[in-house]
Amino acid sequence: MIGYTKDHEYARIDGDVATIGITDFAQSQLGDIVFVDLPPPGKRIEKGKELAVVESVKAASDVFSPLTGDVVEVNAALGGAPSLVNEDPLGQGWLVKLRLSPSAETGELMDEPAYAALVANA
């Protein structure tokens, strides 16, 4: 399943691993992404805390984690090709994979129609 937050992050959940990134709307607002600052594997991130920083030329945007979990993998491809976040944010432009904690807050995510409505009104 895939869920969204009002801060324009998504979490694609497969078992107890969530693949997290920013949405197409978010990347379009940021402009050309030039660098992504990713957390070290093993780090525990609480919901709502800073997960990554996405930088464009003129801005640096904090990405907050939609769920609580431990970092199992980060997208190493972004080092050489940060543009993947612009080109394919929900696919090859993913940021971080978290192993979710048992109490992870998956129920609090928005579903696709709710998120689409949020973006339409933005």
């Binding site: 050309d32 030039v34 930088e55």
Partner: protein, 515 residues
């Protein structure tokens, strides 16, 4: 003889063909030093050293460094050609808001180069530099008189460094009261310059944003609601970065003092009020002055600056070293070791003496009357621009009297397909450096214009006429003029994404450098 005509013949209207050289008339392309210099070339000559046995302990360099050299004629040509690619105040109005790009008097440069100022070492015996210390004392007296302050710390090397100095004094004062662990919040308006929260963060403070009211200034109520036992200080800019006088500043200072905090004032905009109002009178505890803004020292393409900080009675005891003291014998001395509650030393030596000499020369040339006139003319000019543009450009807080700078936003460009950035780039083609854009953050697509007192009325009128024409072109749908700009500068718009994605921060021998 008809083979040498003395007036132009028939002209064709075709665009000129590209040149063979790559140059464009008087505008020359200039390669990198590393592409034209040679390791064995030099433009300086010395007598060879006398034969000697080295005492380098085996630490002599063996490999070449890779530094190219040029003869003097080649070096002069290289740097002259580079210089011609820069806009400058000497060439045209530089209307950058909050930068105060006023004329840089040449007398300043002459005085700074007197050997008695330029050729003295900071650690010479103090008896041999009494003139320098006297100049520093005179400058200090001017600064404390202009600001109504009790003391001034001369060492900070730039405005941001001054902010750090002021906050260090505040933190030291809090420690002396035993309150440094409980008072960690610094209140900062959202319109503040980025150096304000950055300076606070360096010292472990937490920057808490204050919003301005609908009228662009910070209200006493907002401060009253935010100030409390966890407040270390408030950092205000006055006039603020929207060009407006913070009219509640005295009341705000009282609220902050009553809550146990200190008042820091960012003095970047002092050019609006120098000689007309004193920050000490409205409760400011620390304020940095930018000698390279208000006091005419040159911007030099990005530096050097100087940022002395004036201090209230409350904070004066915590001032850093070195500071000046007059002995019983009348001689001036620099006190270099911390005494009493001084927070210590900020940096090596005594401060930016070269800028002190320039600023003092400027102050003596103007006098109190001249500085006051400068502030009046600066505010007059900014309001003249406002009055001349208010019907074609939009102001985020409505049309009201501004101080030395006027703030517009991009509402007037709505539906034109032209952004603030495009508008700025079109100004370049018109021969003007753009105003400050996208700052302060509180205005959408902000355009902050500060003319200073150095512009003639003719210069202001020409500037206005051009901006009006650009506004009309935008609303007439001539988007290409803007989106394709600049076309008449040494370079067109740059790919800043590439520069950030694949940073190339130096020349290297193995890279293929394309022209």
């Amino acid at each position: 003889m008809l083979d040498r005509p003395t007036r132009p013949g028939p002209q064709d209207s075709a665009p000129p063909p590209p040149t063979f050289s790559g140059h464009d008339g008087l505008d020359h392309e200039e390669p990198l030093l590393f592409e034209i210099g040679r390791l064995d070339a030099s433009g300086v000559d010395f007598d060879s050293p006398e034969p000697f046995e080295d005492r380098l302990g085996g630490l002599a360099r063996t490999a070449p460094i890779g530094l190219p050299g040029l003869s003097e004629p080649e070096a002069v040509r290289h740097y002259v050609r580079l210089s011609r690619k820069n806009y400058s105040i000497d060439a045209g109005i530089f209307p950058l808001g909050s930068c105060t790009m006023k004329h840089n008097p040449r007398l300043n440069e002459k005085m700074a180069r007197l050997p008695g100022f330029a050729d003295i070492h900071p650690l010479q015996p103090q008896t041999t530099v009494q003139g320098a210390l006297a100049a520093m004392q005179e400058l200090s007296d001017w600064l404390t008189t202009l600001t109504g302050a009790a003391a001034v710390a001369l060492p900070p090397k730039a405005g941001a460094h001054g902010e750090l100095c002021g906050l260090m004094a505040i933190k030291t004062a809090l420690r002396a009261r035993g309150e440094a662990e409980t008072r960690k919040i610094v209140l900062i308006p959202q319109s503040a310059h980025g150096t304000n929260p950055a300076s606070a963060a360096l010292l472990g403070f937490e920057a808490r944003a204050l919003s301005a009211g609908e009228d662009g200034v910070v209200s006493v109520e907002a401060v009253r609601a935010a100030a409390g036992p966890d407040t270390a200080a408030i950092m205000l800019t006055n006039p603020n970065t929207c060009g407006l006088f913070e009219r509640d500043i005295a009341a705000i200072a009282e609220v902050v003092h009553a809550a146990g905090g200190y008042v820091y004032c960012d003095g970047a905009n002092f050019n609006a009020i120098a000689g007309l109002a004193r920050p000490g009178d409205f409760g400011v505890d620390a304020m940095h002055l930018n000698l390279h803004k208000t006091f005419s020292t040159p911007h030099g393409g990005g530096g050097p600056g100087a940022g002395p900080v004036v201090l209230s009675e409350r904070l004066a005891p915590f001032a850093p070293v070195p500071f000046l003291r007059r002995g019983t014998d009348g001689a001036l001395r620099l006190v270099e070791q911390p005494e009493g509650q001084s927070f210590g030393r900020l940096s090596a030596f005594h401060g930016q003496m070269g800028m002190f000499v320039r600023a003092l020369t400027y102050m003596l040339s103007h006098g109190g009357d001249g500085l006051t006139q400068a502030s009046r003319d600066a505010v007059l000019s900014a309001n003249y621009l406002r009055a001349s543009l208010r019907d074609v450009m939009s102001q985020p807080f409505g049309d009201r009297i501004c101080m030395h700078e006027v703030l517009f936003d991009d509402a007037f460009l709505k539906d034109t397909g032209v952004t603030t950035l495009d508008f700025a780039k079109a100004m370049i083609d018109e021969g003007y450096h753009p105003m400050t854009v996208y700052f302060p953050l509180v205005a959408h697509g902000a355009m902050l214009i500060e003319p200073t007192e150095s512009e003639s009325k003719a210069s202001l009128d020409a500037f206005v006429a051009t901006l009006r024409a650009l506004c009309k072109a935008a609303s007439d749908g001539e988007t290409g003029r803007f989106t394709q700009a600049p076309r008449r500068a040494p370079r067109r718009r740059l790919d800043e994404t590439l520069a950030a994605r694949k940073p190339v921060l130096r020349w290297s021998a193995d890279s293929s450098q394309s022209r």
